[in-house]
């Protein structure tokens, strides 16, 4: 067998700071030596399995666990009754609602947790599920959000005192309704569309799970759990279970993808913890794929009505009315003061005169959640809506969709720009980015090709989207989750040998934190990145912070690491001044070294300064020894990345199959710390966007049965559906981030579905009069639209 040279690549290819550094994580992964949840082996472990409801809505008449308990390998069976005695039958959600840990009174969605079996091995635990006898009385189910508030709709949350309907939250508004009415009255073109962003699912390749290991002697609870926010989880467990927070340690080792799915605390986690307390043994529980798709954090499910208007060829106003389907329990994730997340970024990249947004949330007999899937708090839904509406308006005006966008963009001179819903965008040059995308795509040539093909009866579509996101939650004065500020800590220690450990609260699920954050320290201190170890994912060994989601790692933790590095650098300057017998203000910094201004030969390397800091030599007046620092970083604003995307699709005129032939993505996320990792993030998000636009869907029949509960029916794109993505970039540094960087992880998932759907409609608008198709654009749904009767997805 042929072999090649071993890792690593020669040192001279490695940048000291920012650049295309190959990942520090990879050597273990390519050898199959990752350490994911199911790879962790603790002696004496017992295994959990969850019995779930076959009904979407039913009263529980009785639960008989006796046969399961009689199984020779079963150690325990936990039901709601057991949890009630511990006060744990219900848990708080991230949105100040409550969620049943195990159903006692009723089941409220298919797949809801009913009983938890613990056995000596996984096969026996699975077997014992069939031995539990639950008597249900089925009730009518609510599956259509538009009907949830009908007077005759069955009441789902009869557990909540005073709840008389299925309204999950009061209507939340942003913008100015009266001003919007005036703008619409003066408009010369108005379009109206009903647009659904259907329910889909992040479905990381590794499912969710936990090992809970409670030590009855010490009261210490060790939790092994791939989750995106370990510190926040620990605080939640302390509140939920009444356990002492300082006696809980959460360890996240490698995580097989998250995409928001691993943000929440799930009932299975609480059951495993209770199980460990009851049995005194480590309890491992990991859901199977069906459980993952049927019960854990879904995404989207926004039913939207909208109007957009234009005057004199420019977009002037927007109205949006949303019904948010939150499922049976409102566990949607958003900062406390934003009940609809950041949906009000729906005014997009355009200099509108006015806009008005209304969102109300309803309960339904569907799985709870509404957090996830590479989405910063509902920005994905907002961008999809506005970018569909702009295309609808362009069609109505008979103008090119890029021309309309160009005429309506916020100008580069307008930043910082306050939107009509109250955001302050930090920076941008939108037209420039749009032009780069047009150039890579060869936009004019594509339009010519389209016209020629149309003349031959072939269907080709070109779709554009231009998005602005607000990511990196967030500023303490505006944002908290469950009362916890959305700030991140960082702790940097430079050891006497000049090697460093940076501890962060953000938790990688594949984003490459071990590489990127080492690069930030390297850039700031001039230490080679391989000499910087990144510690994360262990609450005992990292500072507090809210975790990795919402594209917040680089904006918040990245800011923290830059600031803490600079604190160390500042301390090093004082020490260097003592070493060089000069004043600190006479020193200048070059990467890795303080030197005397005017005498560059006189200087001290950071490694020499580190030796000094820990030595017995003299230190500056009043300074403690050591070379370390810690910070809590409070970002002054969100960061506002943006991008211009162009999709080219071909549609089979007979079968209605859609193929994405090309996809051009030009992102501006400010300064790129590791452009290789940034590109990788974009590729992945684009593939997810292809999936959402064309095939990914969680749907239900009228009884509330989930129709997409395995990978046979929840379709994720393969290598054959994804085009060879074409990327470009512009760089507009973020004015308030210490590194000029903005978030990137979610941009491609946010920006790509509207581009693809716009392309599909672009292909069919002229020939078939199609004005809108709700996602996913499956062959059947596209064909129905071509016949003049588009169907909603549920």
């Amino acid at each position: 067998m042929a072999v090649v040279e071993n890792l690593p690549t020669p040192a001279n290819e490695r940048p000291i700071g920012f650049g295309r550094l190959k990942r520090k994580e990879d050597p273990r992964f390519i050898r199959g030596k990752g350490n994911y949840l199911d790879d962790i082996r603790l002696p004496g472990t017992v295994y959990g399995a969850m019995l779930r409801s076959p009904y979407a809505h039913a009263r529980i008449l009785s639960i008989d666990t006796s046969a399961a308990l009689a199984h020779p390998n079963v150690a325990a069976v936990i039901t709601a009754k057991d949890l009630e005695t511990l006060g744990l039958a219900w848990m708080p959600t991230i949105s100040y609602d409550t969620q049943a840990v195990l159903a006692g009174d009723k089941v409220r969605f298919q797949g809801q947790e009913v009983a938890f079996v613990i056995a000596t091995d996984q096969y026996s635990a699975n077997d014992a599920l069939a031995l539990i006898d639950v008597d249900y009385e089925p009730l009518p189910a609510v599956v259509n959000a538009r009907k949830a508030l009908d007077p005759d709709a069955p009441l789902i949350r009869d557990d909540k005192a005073g709840q008389r309907d299925n309204l999950a939250s009061p209507t939340w508004e942003a913008g100015d309704e009266a001003a919007t009415d005036r703008v619409f009255a003066e408009a010369d073109t108005v379009v109206t569309r009903d647009i659904i962003y259907p329910r889909c699912h992040p479905a990381p390749l590794e499912t969710c799970g936990i090992i809970a290991d409670f030590d009855p002697e010490t009261g210490q609870l060790d939790i092994y759990n791939g989750n995106q926010a370990p510190h926040a989880h620990r605080t939640v467990y302390a509140h939920v279970a009444g356990l002492a927070e300082h006696m809980i340690r959460i360890m996240c080792s490698d995580i097989g993808g998250g995409f928001g799915n691993k943000v929440p605390v799930y009932p299975g986690y609480v059951c495993a913890i209770v199980g460990s307390i009851l049995t005194g043994k480590p309890v491992k529980w990991q859901e199977d794929r069906s459980e993952n798709l049927m019960s854990t954090g879904f995404a989207r499910d926004y039913v939207m009505s909208s109007q957009m208007c234009a005057k004199d060829g420019k977009i002037t106003g927007l109205r949006v009315d949303v019904i948010a389907d939150h499922g049976a329990f409102d566990s949607t994730a958003q900062p406390t003061k934003f009940p609809a997340g950041f949906f009000h970024i729906v005014c997009g990249s355009y200099d509108l005169q006015a806009s008005h947004v209304k969102v109300k949330a309803v309960y339904s007999n569907k799985a709870p959640g509404g957090v996830a899937y590479r989405c910063s708090f509902r920005i994905t839904e907002a961008v999809y809506l506005v970018e569909r509406m702009v295309d609808a308006l362009a069609h109505e005006m008979g103008t090119d969709p890029i021309d309309l966008r160009m005429r309506s963009f916020i100008g580069p001179e307008q930043f910082p720009y306050e939107t009509t819903t109250g955001w302050t965008y930090d920076s941008g040059d939108y037209a420039k980015t749009m032009r780069v995308a047009m150039e890579i795509a060869g936009y004019e040539d594509l339009r010519r090709e389209q016209a020629e093909k149309r003349a031959r009866g072939q269907l080709m579509g070109i779709g554009v989207s231009f998005f602005t996101e607000g990511v990196g939650a967030g500023p303490r004065k505006h944002m908290d989750i469950l009362g916890l500020s959305m700030n991140d800590g960082a702790d940097l220690r430079v050891h006497p040998s000049g090697k460093a450990v940076i501890s962060i609260s953000a938790q990688t699920q594949g984003q490459g934190h071990e590489t990127t954050f080492a690069q930030i320290v390297a850039e700031e201190l001039g230490i080679p990145p391989e000499d910087v170890e990144v510690r994360h994912g262990d609450t005992d060994r990292s500072p507090y912070g809210l975790g990795t989601y919402g594209s917040r790692s680089t904006p918040v933790s990245g800011g923290a690491v830059a600031v803490v590095s600079r604190k160390v650098r500042d301390k090093a300057r004082l020490i260097a001044a003592t070493m060089l017998e000069t004043r600190p203000e006479d020193l200048a910094w070059e990467k890795g070294r303080w030197y005397v201004k005017g005498d560059p030969e006189m200087g001290a390397m950071i490694e020499e300064i580190a030796v000094r800091a820990y030595s017995g030599e003299e230190m500056p007046e009043g300074m403690e020894g050591g070379l370390d620092a810690q910070v809590i970083y409070d970002p002054p604003n969100l960061t506002y990345p943006y991008g211009a995307y162009i999709a080219v699709v071909d549609i089979d005129p007979d079968t209605a199959q859609v193929a994405v032939r090309r996809f051009v993505a030009v992102d501006d996320c400010g300064v790129r710390i590791n452009p290789m990792i940034v590109d990788g993030q974009i590729h992945g998000g684009l593939a997810e966007g292809v999936g959402i636009a064309l095939m990914e869907l969680i749907s239900f029949d009228e009884e509330g049965n989930c129709l997409n509960s395995s990978f046979m029916d929840y379709l994720i794109p393969t290598a054959l559906e994804c085009p060879d993505f074409e990327l470009g970039e512009t760089v507009t540094p973020c004015p308030h981030h210490p590194l000029g960087a903005k978030g990137i992880g979610e941009s491609p998932n946010v920006g790509s579905p509207p581009a693809i759907v716009n392309a599909v409609i672009d292909a069919l608008h002229e020939t078939h009069g199609v004005e809108h198709i709700d996602m996913p654009c499956t062959p059947a749904r596209v064909w129905a639209a071509m016949q003049g009767r588009p169907e909603p997805p549920q």
Binding site: D127, A130, T655, A656, T718, P779, A780, W783, A784
Partner: protein, 290 residues
């Protein structure tokens, strides 16, 4: 992860032994070969056989050869070998058409033709293929062999003519001159089951269609054998108009159900489109065919 319920397991060393085991254990026994239909069903606990008879050692059932004017395919022949067979590519290229779109290449390394046909899933591609080429299947029991035409093989959804104590051992396809064949499928995504599929075979004689085989997958409770279309095609010269008429019959004579893959009208429409395309390609392939 989901796991199967417990079962007894034995590995057959001969066809006779497998049949004896089937007879001994009775209806709770299932034969397993590739296992890519059965094991997922067992993990989901939709199938709970008490006894599995593994026939993977019966390599004497893995072959593709031409004998006595027939292509003979052993039941244990794997999809990958059907896909790559030069003999099939020459005689009946629709096998390769279908194999390229059955599940994915890794699954095709395990799944077998016998397993596919015996699963009797109406959306399964090889059933339509075998029906179109007018294959016969050999079913062996303790009493010996019997040969059943494809149109009699699938007696209902997930039900075949294989009786108690019997197993499928071989698929036979008669070789006749002037053949051309093609398989067409529309799926939601690579590797998915068909929304609709059509197989067509034509045998030309002196510029006219001497015989035709047309079958549809995924648009009925079982594979649909389009006898009326075949009758229409026989004796006529191939033409776009003729194929359009056959396609219209396909749309009429199928009986799809609405599901996550699409509504009834779309599936009827596809049955026609795919039948037309399969016939067109089959006709093109008759040129230069021996």
């Amino acid at each position: 992860m989901q796991t199967p319920a417990p079962f007894e397991y034995e590995r057959a060393t001969s066809v006779e032994e497998a049949i004896a085991a089937l007879r001994r254990v009775g209806p709770e026994a299932r034969i397993i070969a590739g296992g890519h239909s059965l094991l997922p069903m067992m993990k989901l606990r939709l199938a709970t056989p008490e006894h599995l008879i593994d026939i993977n050692d019966l390599t004497e059932l893995a072959y593709i050869r031409e004998d006595d004017g027939e292509i003979r395919i052993g039941a244990l022949t794997r999809h990958v070998d059907l896909e790559r067979s030069e003999l099939l590519a020459r005689r009946f290229p629709l096998f390769a058409d279908a194999e390229a779109v059955i599940a994915d290449p890794v699954v095709r390394n395990r799944g077998t033709i016998g397993g596919s046909l015996c699963q009797a899933d109406a959306a399964e591609d090889l059933s339509a293929v075998c029906s179109a080429v007018k294959a016969q299947v050999v079913i062996r029991g303790a009493e010996g062999e019997r040969v059943v035409a494809m149109e009699d093989f699938h007696v209902g959804p997930y039900t075949t003519a294989v009786g108690a104590g019997e197993m499928l051992t071989e698929v036979r396809v008669p070789v006749r001159p002037g053949a051309g064949s093609a398989h067409e499928k529309v799926e939601r995504r690579a590797g998915d089951w068909a929304i609709a599929a059509a197989s067509a075979a034509l045998w030309m004689d002196d510029g006219a269609i001497a015989d035709a085989g047309v079958a549809l997958g995924a648009v009925g409770m079982t594979t649909i054998h389009l006898a009326r279309a075949e009758e229409l095609l026989r004796g006529r010269a191939p033409s776009e108009e003729l194929f359009a008429q056959a396609a219209a019959i396909a749309s009429e004579d199928c009986s799809p159900r609405a599901d996550g893959r699409g509504p009834v009208d779309y599936k009827r429409h596809l049955a026609g489109v795919l039948t037309h395309r399969a016939l067109r390609r089959a006709a093109a392939r008759t040129k230069g065919s021996g």
